[in-house]
Symmetry: C2
Subunit: 413 residues, 2 copies
């Protein structure tokens, strides 16, 4: 049961847009039991589109194609699709009515570009798109299903969720593929591989282990393939249990849960609250925590204290402490955390102060230095690390290190 | 002058990792004048790797391959590469010395996995990787250059910047490709297309226009292809000037500059400062502003006032105002901005309060409602919009709308 994903658009090839669509589609199709054998990105050119469609015909049960269906004239996909399937564009009055209605609701005038959206190839099944103006299209040829969708992520997701995935589920009886993701933090990849050498070599052939590192987190992915769901689930569960026996101190969660979800759930369970006092992370920890729906139940607020005056005047860090130990010090971090906790009356407050780079480092405190503190009713703890040179990577690693320390403080009590 | 990018890894196909590497490589290769004709993602499987390498051989001047070179045993790429190029793995002592040195510096013990990193195919040119443990590899076959690099983004980028791109630049005389990106905000795609209909049809055949929308911003990309750089640059410049004549009110920048860079540069020029008071954007505006190197010269700090108590106690919004107009109101947003400006003594302060969703909406204030205010010495302005239903999309759209209002306030005075 195979799937291929084709994404169309110059912007993907020249790197002006990161292709998040194919990642999302890959995850959804994989959950249905499809093996995604290949992803292809091509230019919005007649020749390239025809070539890619020919190549995959008969090689895969289903092919998902996104892009090239927007209202602007850089889109030649529909004409080419007609050529490939030997059909022609006709006006679809139902789609036209939907587009007209949507433009009216959004209070935009209807124009010629919008009208053209309602022209569809005569021989396809039209997938109506309530999330946007370009409809999806469903073709079948040489035992391959071709599904064309717009490249705007939420329109594609709408069509996939409402129409494509339910239909594919009905049509294909699934080979069972189960993924289990165990999230680890605190050991580098090679060290983790060493710890898990015996585990890995003991795995049954139908179960594979992969190491997926990102910003200090290493996700361990177990993939099991089989025909009997119950047997496979049991085997997977046993292997996950073994991992918890071998590296209990490194596992912080499962199922790709980011730290902000793990911390949020711990706070919810305990009916506790959190605030942040951020210097070098510049609001990123607050942003991570508030990206989770429902976070207002435990997240109270933050003071982003980029300038030292904010550390002094709002968080109440004495100017003498900053003078003596420096703004980047565990001492300052501790007082920032305590100040934020006092100010916002939260159960926990986490503070960061460090040097994200690329400038601002010294011999004693190089770029990549981070001091973290967590204050709670049990007192204040702090840690110091040195990471790399890259600003965005540092901001992310600092934020994850801070959330990891929050988690430790919550579960230890 | 063609290039193909192949990324290897199950995690890319099943969507557990978004492929940012190929976007970055595409942009860099495109800048050198390469036409990226295709991107392919495949499984970390012998058969699939051999098939993809065969397919592209002779079809492109250069092929970049990333992934499958890490220290863990899910990596079978190196063995397969040896098979494809008819060579075998040998220990490279120089690479071994580098890996040993790096592990020592990071204070990690050297293990068997790290040692294996130093084994390289005998017939390749080794690209030494000071950023990590897996070296890159350069092969040539049937007039195609194959360059293998690790999948860890900063290691790949290091190898590309230091070794691959300079060498490719020397080897290939470039066909000239020029991209110009004009950033617009304030009109939806179909409306913008209508405004630019005459402009687009007047373009010379060697110049193409594309519309690239993201969170309310529409990037207009002009791509010119030719042989004479000077002539092409002149033609591109003339077209950009025309755009400024047709839609002056919608253009906020060029060269893919995000709003946080545009606002930062305006503040730098004027030696002015900014702070934020964020409710529904939860620190994201602070995060965007501080993601820019050197932002400490104009960014002072933020109060993330998620809970109403923080709006009242720290920002000084009277409880009666929140009671009368609601936390999500232009009145509250204005007082939040004024409170933040007073507290942090900044030239500008921007405030957001709204409903990101998925819950919390009412008939009068549906999910997607956002109130924005900007306070400065010239007084306080505010705006209200209603966007969509998706939380992450809303947080991003809210943040961009807020930064756009800041920009307008700065340039109007």
């Amino acid at each position: 049961m195979k799937a291929i994903i084709i994404t169309i658009g110059d912007e993907l090839l020249i790197g002006q847009t990161v292709d998040t669509n194919s990642a999302w589609m890959g995850a959804e199709l994989s959950n249905l039991g499809f093996d995604i054998v290949r992803k292809i990105s091509i230019h919005d050119l007649r020749k390239d589109i025809l070539e890619a469609l020919s190549e995959v015909t008969g090689k895969s049960d289903t092919v998902m194609i996104t892009g090239g269906l927007g209202p602007t004239s850089d889109d030649i996909t529909r004409q080419t699709i007609c050529e490939f399937f030997g059909t022609k564009l006709i006006m679809n009055n139902e789609v036209l009515a939907m587009v007209t209605e949507m433009m009216k609701k959004r209070n935009f005038p209807m124009n010629e570009n919008n009208r053209r959206q309602a022209e569809v190839p005569e021989s396809c099944r039209v997938l109506k798109n309530s999330a946007g103006t370009a409809p999806g299209m469903w073709f079948e040829k040489d035992k391959t299903i071709f599904i064309f969708m717009p490249g705007v992520p939420y329109e594609m997701k709408y069509l996939m969720r409402e129409q494509v995935l339910p239909e594919l589920k009905k049509r294909f009886t699934s080979q069972v593929i189960i993924h289990r993701n165990i999230m680890t933090y605190g050991a580098p990849e090679a060290k983790l591989a060493e710890l898990l050498e015996g585990f890995e070599s003991s795995l049954a052939p139908e179960i594979k282990l992969a190491f997926l590192p990102a910003w200090g987190i290493i996700k361990l992915r177990l993939t099991g393939t089989g025909t009997e769901r119950r047997l496979l689930e049991k085997a997977m569960e046993e292997n996950v249990s073994k991992l918890y026996e071998i590296i209990p101190h490194l596992i912080y969660g499962e199922n790709e849960e980011p730290f902000e979800v793990v911390v949020g759930n711990l706070l919810l369970e305990r009916k506790q609250t959190i605030g942040t006092a951020e210097s070098c992370t510049g609001g990123n920890i607050a942003h991570l925590l508030t990206s989770i729906p429902g976070s207002s139940r435990y997240y109270i607020g933050s003071v982003v204290a980029y300038d030292n005056k904010v550390k002094e005047n709002i968080l109440g860090v004495p100017v003498e402490v900053i003078g003596k130990y420096g703004a980047v010090s565990e001492e300052t971090a501790r007082l920032m955390a305590e100040g934020a906790r006092r100010l916002m009356k939260t159960d926990y407050a986490v503070a960061t102060t460090g040097i994200a780079g690329p400038d601002g480092g010294t011999d004693l405190k190089p770029v990549g230095t981070i001091c973290i503190a967590v204050a709670s009713e049990h007192g204040t703890v702090s840690e110091k690390y040195v990471y790399g040179n890259e600003r965005i990577s540092n901001i992310n690693r600092f934020s994850i290190a801070a959330l990891s320390l929050v988690r430790k403080q919550i579960i230890v009590h």
